[in-house]
Amino acid sequence: MSISLTFALMDAPYESSRTVTALRLIDIAARRGYDLKIFAYEGAVALAYKDQAAHANIVHKHDIEEENHPLPHKWIESLHETAVQHKGSIEWVNCDICGDERGIDNYVECTRGGTHVDFWQFVSSTDNTLVIGTTTT
């Protein structure tokens, strides 16, 4: 039986290095074919926001193509594909009320909205959970 893990994320995109470390952990687990449950809470709901857009960088003197600015929602889609390729899965839930507060509801299709009930079901049904809290005070 495949190993299953839950990750709880809290930090918004472009705010904390925890986001990239969290996604690196998810990448490792996805390549192992694990079944992964992600609960994006508070600012982390914006990670899956589909309207994130790349931009040029005037300081780097890069146009939009050269800069190839990272978009977390693209990373999430890529992680989802990797999990499927390795016969695992990623179920990614964005906290609905957190999205409501922030006016965010346009998520990439490989994620969905949900509630604290999803979080508890994830924790209860998986082998282990890592909570990645926020440093923002």
Binding site: V20, D27, N57, V59, H80, T82
Partner: protein, 126 residues
């Protein structure tokens, strides 16, 4: 108006942003005429070490093609004629030897920090 920017929160989302947003902002305002210098303080003294290498980040099939290069961005800031100071005490606290520091950065001892601040009209702590 002369401004000194204290940077003390390094590597905050630099992989997502592909640079340090404060160093980026100092470059950008220097471009439009700001007389702004920078001091690396606390953990940010780590930016002064040579050989920072953020290459190799990959998520699924997506690899980062343009990773942050903080050393480059600091050297380019110096090339604008701006100054980058670095707190000597912060360096020694992190075990970074002076010979590992990027050329052109100016070391400032902790007891000279206030005198440095006094040379500027504004001091910003990011």
């Amino acid at each position: 108006m002369k401004v000194l920017s204290i940077i003390s929160t390094p590597w905050r989302a630099t992989l997502e942003e592909q640079d340090d947003t404060i160093i980026w902002l100092m470059h950008a305002i220097a471009d439009v005429g700001a007389e702004v210098d920078v001091i690396l303080y606390g953990d940010a003294a780590g930016y002064g070490a040579k050989g920072l290498d953020a290459r190799g980040l990959t998520f699924g099939q997506t690899s980062q093609s343009n990773p942050p290069d903080i050393n480059r961005d600091l050297i380019n800031f110096l090339k604008r004629g701006r100054k980058v100071f670095i707190c000597e005490k912060s360096l020694s606290h992190l075990g970074i030897h002076k010979d590992s520091v990027l050329p052109g950065l100016e070391l400032v001892s902790k007891d000279k920090l206030v005198q440095l601040f006094d040379r500027y009209d504004k001091v910003w702590h990011w």
